[in-house]
């Protein structure tokens, strides 16, 4: 007769083995090494905070091979870094097809030594976000688990029971406590770093402050929106100035999406909108107006 406990245990062992083949040791800091996920055959995605130096970086593959590596680019805002191996030969991780769900059984994996893969069992406790990191970044979503973040686990994968990768674990964003950056976000950052060498962020060039919108003005807006961003100043020669934004405007939306505070504006100014003419909704003299601004790059 089938024993579900035995099946689950065997699945976890296979999962650790399978995802462990794509989990490497990253040696780029003074204290114990950390972990990394194989993104492509010669690119390793890891946590930015464990890559303390730009030179003399080495990566140990699961088979014990030591390879030297160099930094392709970093995104301190999401604590991710992409490093390139001197030659290809790593086995890329398989991203999970479904995003993580609360309650899901997961393994946190790490390879902080040459002793082999290390694992800790947990469940997805919560899915949070958006979260403004103290490095000026914005995480749309993050995962919290009750797995134990052993020393050297930063940069390693959170994997589902089938061995696919749900995210990248890091303790660098929350002062010690570990969170997991979901795979779709981490992979997107990796893709951008691989292409541009860094993460592109949109730039408007305004100084602003969140203010309440009066009931009358909300009528002009034709929607319920209690707050917007009062433009207090314009940077010289900025995209906002060139597009015709004025001091005293209340910025209430970008591309039709409401902007109620700085975080919402930050989230709108992604790399995707750079160089594009983007309609900015403002309240000017109590009336709703649209100003087209070609978003710059920060």
């Amino acid at each position: 007769m089938k024993n579900i406990l035995v099946e689950l245990s065997d699945a976890l062992v296979e999962s650790a083995e399978r995802a462990g083949d794509s989990t490497v040791m990253v040696n780029a800091r003074r204290r114990i090494p950390a972990s990394g996920i194989v993104y492509t055959e010669d690119l390793i995605l890891t946590a930015n905070h464990v890559v303390e130096r730009d030179e003399d970086i080495s990566v140990t593959l699961p088979d014990g091979t030591d390879l030297s590596a160099s930094v392709v680019g970093r995104d301190p805002g999401s604590d991710l870094a992409l490093i390139k191996l001197e030659r290809s030969g790593a086995y890329p991780a398989e991203p999970a097809k479904m995003p993580a769900r609360v309650g899901q059984i997961v393994l946190a994996l790490g390879r902080p030594s040459k002793n082999g893969i290390e694992a800790s069992l947990g469940t997805v406790s919560a899915i949070g976000g958006p979260f403004r990191t103290h490095h000026g970044g914005m995480l749309e979503r993050y995962l919290r688990t009750d797995s134990i973040p052993y020393p050297g686990f930063s940069g390693g994968p959170l994997v589902a029971a089938n061995g696919t990768v749900l995210g990248l674990n890091t303790s660098g964003l929350t002062r010690g406590a570990a969170i997991t950056i979901p795979t779709d976000i981490a992979w997107k950052v990796a893709e951008t770093i691989a292409k541009h060498g860094h993460i592109r962020r949109g730039y408007l060039g305004i100084r602003s402050q969140a203010v309440e919108i009066s009931i009358d003005a909300q009528k002009a807006l034709k929607r319920e929106q209690a707050t917007g961003l009062l433009v207090m100043g314009l940077e010289k020669d900025s995209p906002a100035a060139a597009g015709g934004l004025m001091v005293g405007d209340i910025l209430v939306g970008v591309s039709g999406s409401p902007v109620t505070d700085h975080d919402r504006l930050f989230a709108q100014l992604t790399g995707d909108v750079i160089g594009k003419s983007t309609p900015i909704d403002v309240l000017r003299g109590g009336q709703l107006q649209f100003v087209d601004v070609v978003i710059g790059e920060r």
Partner: protein, 215 residues
Amino acid sequence: MKFIIPEGGSGTFTESLDALVQRVMPSLTIVHGHRWGAGAGIIWGEDGLILTNNHVVGQRSPVVKLQDDSEYASRLLARDPHVDLALLSIEASGLTTLAPAPISPRVGEMVFAFGHPWGQRNSVTRGIVSTTLTAKTRRGREIPIIRSDVPLAPGNSGGPLVNVRGEVIGINAMIIGGDQSIAIPVSVVIEFVERALSKQKNRTRRTKPVPESVL
């Protein structure tokens, strides 16, 4: 030595867990080796062999308490501080023993610790094998150890770490840094017991326990 051949659970996760606990619990004992506090021990031989940690056994012979609350004064057969194991003997027979796991622990494998953390009798905690590594004893001997993420506390020492089939993969020995649990693998245990018993055979009959190391 009688080993229980585990049968598959029937159906649900909870039933499988329950079957596992029912299988292992009869072999879990309390070992009172110090004036204060107690550790755990497991029935290793149906004729009264009890295995525990060396550090659970104090200077005097411990009192062993079985699941039916019967208490026995034990005789210390062997102890080894370097692998932190001790073998006791009690005047009992027909006890329920546990089977040692036939294969080495695998990373990711689900494991369960049985013991009495903070004196809470017959507790079960769950985790996985995090890694296996080697550690050097003070005598320079290298022994394999199992690190798991199973929550342990004082009172778990000497208790079994079992796999999903209820087979012993190790003896819980210590906690490092609050969240890393260390177990002595069953392979080390088997070697320790075999050496202890062979020395025991070659020894002339003694009426008193032998408190020094036999290794």
